[in-house]
Subunit: 126 residues, 2 copies
DNA sequence: GTTCATTGTACATTGTACTTATACAATAGA
DNA sequence: TCTATTGTATAAGTACAATGTACAATGAAC
């Protein structure tokens, strides 16, 4: 099982799958040439319909991460990072601020959040 | 206008409103006793139906941020931070990892992301 | 080269969630 | 007491998510 989903989440399953796979692709846990499980197998593992998995694969294929071909499956591609558009950076800051506020509201102390942020920042620079 | 929404966003409007207001509440930009605009006024400003704003206010009221009363409007409350539940911290790390991967995939350099994270971490510790 | 199981694709259907429309209930202030 | 202003409740329209089913493509076995 290469990922898990949460049926209680408000996020749609196909998006949960995309959001769980993308970090593995970006961080190199999944490498070019690797083969993802067939839609029917991953769907069975997750307990959802295979079309739901297919939709997730399709999104990642459109982003340039996967090559989908019948009878062969989903292959991880070599992918160049695109040029960033102007809005992306601003949106990123806003979304982070939203999430941090949500987590703080949930009772996580600011110090713990700050620690987590620094840890991730370090991980990015290696 | 105390906030803006993005009609192109995939996030539902009522959630955009919640996610835009919560940071203001957490960070103290909105203080106990402050009055939010009536649902009809904010809705008109945003170009949506007032029930959509009412739904957002209701969510924030359930979280303990607002007191809603007819004819008086939405008043910001004094609110204690709750005890954090066990899952929250782990979910936070996972969501951050997802968003960072998404932004990286969009072409923002890791160094820029790391800078943003550190900046937010600093802001949290003041 | 043919056959067939395996894989992704296409599309209709069903259920769920978002947004709106409309009517209602409560209440501060004149 | 009356009334305008405010939030509330509920149903309907619409779009989206997830599924069911049939199909198309193709690598492997022979």
């Amino acid at each position: 099982m290469i990922l898990q989903i949460n049926v209680d989440s408000e996020a749609p399953v196909y998006r949960q799958i995309v959001d769980a796979l993308r970090p593995k692709l970006v961080e190199g846990e999944l490498l070019p040439g690797d083969l993802l499980p067939p839609v029917r197998q991953l769907a069975a593992d997750l307990g959802v319909h295979f079309n739901t998995v297919a939709e997730a694969y399709r999104i990642l294929a459109e982003e340039g991460w996967l090559d989908l071909r019948r009878r062969r499956g989903a292959v991880v591609l070599e992918r160049k990072m695109p040029r960033a558009d102007r809005a992306a950076a601003g949106n990123f800051a806003r979304r982070l601020r939203e999430i941090i506020a949500e987590v703080q509201a949930g009772g996580i102390p600011a110090a713990a959040i700050a620690r987590e942020l620094r840890q991730l920042a370090e991980g990015l620079e290696q």
